[in-house]
């Protein structure tokens, strides 16, 4: 009888301990896990409270690698993001500017000879910038995925 009582107590303690640990893990994710959000611009928010921890500007260094420093694989992907995001933004921005210039020149008569090159140049810049931005966003999503994953390990 005493054996059963002790066994029941020990089993219950083990059960309570494991439940407590799993609950603590969920609350870690609730408090610390990151995701990408769109406010005015791109930003990273943390936890169920959606507290903004990083605003990502188009033309400046973002600090994503520092944010996910606790996860080596996330840092690797954050560097992919850092490497491509600013160049992509610059190229795409230049493409949009040239496209606008091209639109402006269409109303001038006679049209300047340079305007013949503006449209293909702007499209090329937009495509290349878009390609670099796409690489950057993939890196960003992977970085956050790995960071959140390592919160659970």
């Amino acid at each position: 009888m005493r054996i059963l009582l002790v066994a029941g107590l020990l089993s219950g303690l083990a059960h309570m301990g494991a439940t407590f640990q799993a609950g603590a893990q969920t609350s870690t994710y609730d408090e610390r896990a990151l995701r990408v959000d769109a406010g005015p611009g791109l930003r990273i928010v943390r936890g169920v409270a959606d507290s903004v921890v990083l605003n990502i500007g188009e033309f400046k260094r973002t600090g994503l690698a520092d944010l996910v420093a606790s996860s080596p694989k996330a840092v690797e992907q954050a560097e992919v993001f850092e490497k491509n995001y600013r160049p992509g933004s610059w190229y795409a921005g230049a493409g949009i500017a040239l496209f606008g210039l091209n639109l402006g020149l269409t109303s001038i008569s006679p049209r300047p000879t340079i305007s013949g090159w503006l449209l293909p140049a702007s499209v090329a810049l937009l495509v290349y910038g878009g390609y670099r931005l796409q690489l950057a966003y993939r890196g960003l999503q992977k970085a956050i995925w790995w960071y959140n994953r390592d919160l659970k390990s």
Binding site: A7, A14, A18, T19, A22, Q25, Y29, R35, L103, R149
Partner: protein, 180 residues
């Protein structure tokens, strides 16, 4: 007394073992919410279980030229593609998590509206440029281009918001993968 203690430890280990097996049986995403008592005997094994579930089940998305692949797990299995006029059902994919499903619905509505208005706006801009390129001094040209640009801006804003909702949906889905 020692024998009693050993027997007690043995029985409690058996109890813990059965609880662990229960946890493994409930580790898939679809039945996560049904089991409120996932259990293991050590922090390490709980965390390994959790990381294993996350590695195989957790979702993310990766953009590619106007659409996005929804990817599962560390191996990068593509489970569907969302984007302009794609009708992959994200809500069904994340239905095991009610909050994720709600955000998936927001994504679906925003994505459709954003895609539609952006496409109309781009078409108006293209028509405006084509008219202007023909050197015809048509008064409608600036109206077309400005209206088109406005449509693109409004549509892209909706698309951005919808992808934020998708990100939130996947966050909640991944969150509810945790053994609980």
């Amino acid at each position: 007394m020692k024998l009693n203690l050993l027997l007690a430890l043995g029985l409690s280990a058996l109890g813990a073992g059965s609880l662990t097996a229960q946890t493994n049986g409930h580790s898939s995403a679809t039945n996560k919410n049904q089991n409120g008592t996932a259990a293991t005997t050590t922090t390490q094994s709980t965390r390994v279980d959790s990381a294993t579930v996350y590695d195989s089940q957790a979702l993310r998305f990766e953009g590619k030229w106007g659409s996005a692949d929804i990817i599962r797990g560390a191996k990068g299995e593509v489970v569907g593609t969302v984007g302009w006029f794609r009708d992959f059902d994200v809500e069904k994919l994340v239905q095991s998590s009610p909050r994720a499903a709600a955000d998936a619905r927001t994504f679906k509505v925003g994505n459709f509206r954003g895609s539609l208005v952006t496409t109309i706006g781009a078409s108006l801009v293209a028509i405006g440029i084509a008219v202007a390129s023909n050197n015809s001094n048509n008064a409608s040209t600036p109206v077309l281009i400005i209206a088109g640009a406005g449509g693109i801006g409004w549509g892209l804003n909706h698309l951005t918001s919808s992808y934020a909702a998708l990100s939130r949906a996947l966050w909640w889905y991944n969150r509810d993968l945790a053994p609980r």
